[in-house]
């Protein structure tokens, strides 16, 4: 269950064996909740060339969120259910389902076919009659117009709960020239169907509909869309098509749609509030933001789902201007004082479990027990009795809560009761951590078997502070991510007429091509909300283009009322010269999220280190201290810059430089060998300390040596070995 793998010998005729369950990660609440609402089409479709399966069909409107899907590989295959979408998890009441047949006949269905409880299978329907099925079982049939009426009547019965309210009534009318799906009236009552509520206009009640009936229904989105005589249903809310996470994006109707998709991804990578019972949780890794805030600009769903209980970001004063050059290419400047007052401060909680029984079995037996007391030496007169194994650890061999540990510091100590050996468990990570909790696992001493076995299992939670450093990733709620490029002193930040200096400066180039107008509106709304001391509603589709008021005017008027510029821009003064800058600058309040991608997890550095045994090239991998591949394109770039020496340095000196020997006569790199000393010459002073290489090639063996040392990449030598193995000789021409 935990792995998501299907264990069966037959394969159960399933298309894949893994991925049937996913772990609900508690990185933050958004990620947690989205894991409960995700739908994957199947691993097989990932490999398919065709894009048909990835397309969003009319059937899925309101069931699957059009925004909340990743881009790239799983796009359109990994979907998320819309907020109001439910699944039929339990079977409908059997009595109500059994009654359906008679109810249908009462409505005017002519019983026929083998499936219906009324029919004997003998009667055939006229050719122009449509079939009426319940769960794929033919009950009878009737004419097209009758079918249409019956479908409408069934809907009324549905909303009045005369038939189960989640029954699906799919009426497929015949299409011209026999196109379209097979016509008929199909009722479904089974489980595993998705259903969603819409308003049944005639009765004004809520009706649950399914994806099969939806394409043939007339559902209006907004009240304006209702066409008399045609429209039968209306959406309860225009935002019902969005998933919960997509509906957290403020003013998402003003953004270019891919940006909303990016936000759905980034919202799930935000360092936020994963849980409240942190002292009692033992998750392997947890990210937590220290000073979260409720967003000033929030959607209605944000309140409905109490998202403020699990806050994710921090309201920041954001100025849009090009300042100092540190905000180029999606970098952002962070106010140093904001940082010092706690902006973006976060920590990572890591829990490590130590099982001494397991450790004993790995090291080949023994009886391990946590302790920090050295075994008294036999000849000691009692002085050394309480000597500690590690000074920083408590006498019980456990770390102290609140203690800081750096790489290599002892974290716990234990002794082997059989051999008397003392051992130290160390903090293996590079980062300094604080011991947050120490939990003793296992039965209480003395309980259970009646003998005190000593403490054998331990769980330690370490807290690693992760305050923002240069290169850490942040984003607004509009798919506008960026890295912090510098902490800029508050005194040198630009300031407004009222003395406000921004927390964050972003570059105006972030907007033209991305068209995240929602972020600009959020900025205005946040600013006016902060000035008036109220939360702003940012639910999408609240301001209509033809409506009486545009979003800009709504918030502009609020800003003007507070004595600010209508469009949210202000004259700013340069923090360096104090001069007023020529253009008015856009400054407002935007919620910023801190993403979990941090430099401390990703930086890679290497001078020398481990190499691959076969090729002698540096290995890859950050953990192993490997190198970063300088690939073909990077090679091309260096060549085109004319920096051939640098290229040589990267590809040769820092990689697998090797001094090999090559015969100048036969050109072999494999044939040169060190000259063996003869019994006569061995140990004589003339031959000592001198390496003489000779070529053992048949043609060179007896001729004077022409072997020269050459610098070559070791893989080249390896290649000639491989070729020699296939009977191909590689010859190298030597030139002076």
């Amino acid at each position: 269950m935990a792995s998501g793998n299907v264990v069966s010998s037959s394969g159960l005729d399933l298309m894949q064996v893994s991925g049937y369950t996913i772990v609900a990660e508690r990185l933050n609440f958004l990620r947690y909740i989205s894991h409960y609402r995700s739908v994957h089409r199947g691993q097989f479709f990932m490999t398919m060339k065709t894009t048909t399966v990835r397309k969003l069909l009319p059937d899925s409107w309101g069931f699957l969120c059009p925004v909340h899907t990743p881009d790239g590989g799983p796009c359109g295959l990994l979907n998320h259910m819309a907020v109001m979408c439910e699944t039929q998890c339990a079977p409908l009441p059997a009595a109500a389902v059994a009654k359906l047949d008679s109810q249908l006949v009462a409505l005017g269905v002519i019983p026929a076919g083998a499936g219906g409880s009324y029919a004997d299978g003998a009667e055939a329907l006229p050719y122009n009659y449509l079939t009426v099925c319940v769960d794929g079982r033919v009950v009878g049939g009737c004419s097209v117009s009758e079918c249409k009426r019956i479908a409408a009547d069934l809907r009324v019965m549905k909303v009045n709960h005369e038939i189960p309210p989640t029954t699906e009534v799919a009426f497929f009318p015949p299409m011209p020239n026999g196109s379209g799906p097979f016509p008929g009236l199909f009722l479904s009552t089974g489980m595993s169907r998705t259903i969603r509520p819409v308003k049944h206009i005639e009765s004004g009640k809520v009706e649950y509909i399914g994806p099969m009936e939806q394409p043939f229904m007339d559902i209006a989105c907004l009240p304006d869309d209702v066409r008399a005589g045609v429209t039968t249903h209306q959406e309860l809310d225009a935002t019902n098509m969005l998933s919960l996470i997509a509906s957290m994006t403020p003013f998402s109707d003003y953004n270019q749609s891919p940006r909303n998709m990016y936000q759905c991804q980034m919202g799930k990578q935000t360092m936020g509030t994963p849980a409240h019972a942190l002292p009692h949780r033992t998750d392997n890794k947890m990210y937590r933001i220290q000073n979260p805030q409720a967003p000033i600009v929030q959607t209605q769903r944000h309140g409905e789902y109490n998202m403020d209980d699990y806050p994710n970001g921090c309201n920041a004063v954001v100025a849009v201007l090009s300042y100092t050059g540190f905000d180029m290419e999606d970098a952002m400047i962070l106010n140093k004082s904001s940082y010092e007052r706690g902006f973006g401060h976060a920590s990572v909680y890591k829990t490590k479990t130590v099982d001494l029984k397991e450790e004993a079995s790995h090291s080949g037996g023994g009886k391990f027990r946590f302790s920090n007391v050295k075994k008294p030496k036999p000849d000691a007169d009692g002085d050394g009795e309480n000597e500690l194994i590690a000074d920083t650890i408590g006498v019980d061999g456990l770390p102290q809560v609140g203690q800081w540990v750096s790489e290599g510091d002892p974290l716990y100590t234990y002794v082997d009761d059989l051999t008397g050996k003392e051992k130290i468990g160390r903090h293996k990570e590079m980062e300094k951590a604080c011991v947050q909790h120490v939990r003793l696992l296992g039965p209480e001493p003395g309980a259970g078997k009646g003998k005190d076995e000593g403490l054998e299992r331990l769980s330690v939670t370490l807290r690693i502070p992760r305050n923002p450093v240069i290169g850490d990733k942040f984003s607004s709620r509009h798919g506008q991510k960026g890295v912090m490029s510098i902490l800029w002193p508050s005194v040198d930040m630009p300031f407004s007429e009222s003395g406000i200096s921004p927390d964050i400066i972003i570059n105006p180039h972030a907007f033209p091509s991305r068209m995240t107008i929602g972020m600009l509106i959020e900025s205005m709304a946040g600013k006016s909300g902060a000035l008036h001391g109220k939360f702003q509603d940012a639910t999408p589709f609240q301001f209509h283009e033809n409506g009486d008021k545009l979003a800009v005017d709504h918030f502009g008027e609020q800003l003007q009322e507070a004595g600010y510029s209508y469009y949210g821009s202000e004259p700013l003064y340069s923090g360096v010269s104090g001069q007023c800058m020529h253009a008015d600058l856009y400054i407002g309040v935007v919620l910023y999220q801190r993403l979990r991608h941090m430099v401390s997890d990703k930086y890679q550095v290497r001078a020398t280190g481990a190499v691959n045994q076969l090729t002698r090239q540096p290995i890859k991998g950050r953990k192993k201290g490997g190198g970063i591949r300088l690939g073909e394109m990077e090679r091309d770039a260096l060549l085109s810059h004319g920096t051939a020496f640098l290229l040589h340095d990267r590809l040769m000196n820092c990689s697998d430089k090797h001094i090999g020997y090559c015969c100048g006569r036969c050109g072999g790199v494999l044939s040169p060998q060190t000259k063996r000393e003869t019994t006569l010459s061995a140990g004589t002073s003339s031959s000592r300390m001198k390496l003489v290489m000779t070529c053992i090639e048949v043609g060179c063996r007896d001729l004077p040596e022409m072997v020269e040392p050459v610098a070559l990449p070791y893989v080249f030598k390896y290649l000639s070995f491989e070729l020699a193995g296939m009977g191909i000789k590689m010859q190298v021409e030597l030139k002076q």
């Binding site: 140093k336 004082s337 904001s338 940082y339 010092e340 007052r341 706690g342 002193p489 508050s490 300031f495 407004s496 007429e497 009222s498 003395g499 406000i500 004259p571 003064y573 104090g578 007023c580």
Partner: protein, 270 residues
């Protein structure tokens, strides 16, 4: 805790008590020469706050209802033990006079419930905001220029009212007004505080001029000798004291610069 503002009561220039520059009471924790131990805490560069709050003790002297709620430990529970006489005190974000009106309860440190007790000692040190923002007494600070103005009465007299109105409307800060009776152009009251020195007025009168080289009708420029300072304090210092001590520090630094410059000049001359 570091962000709780701390007030030092010192006499101001006229001798009255005010929340002023603590440099008069303390020396910087980085340069203090008085402390001998490595920990570096002495009376000259640091002070101590003690806090002791016991919910049950409070509940004993309070109403029944108190027990059912939680108690908030605030900056008001911090008591200075090293410098007595109210010289050093933790404060909230408001000025003393405003505290009473606002029913300010201080900066929240922690909430506690039945059975809980909090006791700690904290050490405060003097530093500057260049090192960490917590030492900044300034919440918001801005300055603007006192405008230097000029009205060309002779040229204005020849201008029709419509054009004068155009000038009034051109300025986004609305610093100009037309006198209803005389029809004369003038500045509104307190326009000095409204000016943002936009170019709109220049553009507008350029269009009104007969020749480009004609004198301006109205000129509003940034003065260079008078400024308007707006300072909002975090509560650690009185706003006026911030400006005064900032000027004092500037004066001292300029003096230092001057002595060094003369010293170097003398050295070069020799």
């Amino acid at each position: 805790m570091g962000l709780i503002p701390i007030r030092c009561i010192v006499p101001n220039d006229s001798g009255a008590d005010c929340a002023g520059d603590c440099q008069e009471l303390f020396s910087s924790h980085l340069t203090c020469t008085a402390c001998d131990d490595a920990a570096g805490t002495c009376h000259k560069c640091s002070f101590e706050f003690r806090c002791r709050v016991d919910f049950d003790e409070l509940a004993a002297t309070n109403t029944e209802e108190f027990k059912t709620t939680n108690h908030i430990v605030t900056s008001k529970d911090l008591e200075c033990t090293s410098h007595t006489g109210g010289q050093v005190q933790a404060c909230s974000f408001l000025h003393e006079r405003e505290e009473v009106d606002a029913h300010d309860k201080g900066v929240t440190i922690v909430k506690m419930a039945k059975g809980q007790k909090l006791e700690f000692t904290c050490v405060g040190r003097m530093g500057i905001a260049k090192e960490h923002a917590k030492w900044s007494p300034v919440a918001v600070c801005a300055y603007r220029f006192w405008p230097e103005t000029y009205l060309n009465h002779a040229a204005l007299a020849a201008l029709p009212v419509k054009d004068k109105q155009a000038l009034v409307d051109a300025c986004p800060d609305r610093i100009l007004k037309l006198d209803d009776v005389t029809g004369e152009l003038g500045f509104v009251e307190g326009f000095e505080y409204l000016c943002t020195y936009t170019e709109d007025l220049d553009f507008a009168q350029r269009a009104l001029k007969k020749r480009p080289e004609d004198d301006d009708f109205v000129r509003v420029a940034q003065g260079d000798s008078k400024f308007i300072f707006e300072v909002e304090s975090s509560g650690a210092m009185d706003a006026d004291q911030i400006v005064l001590s900032a000027l004092k520090v500037l004066g001292r630094k300029l003096g230092e610069l001057q002595t060094h410059v003369t010293a170097i000049a003398n050295e070069l001359a020799n």
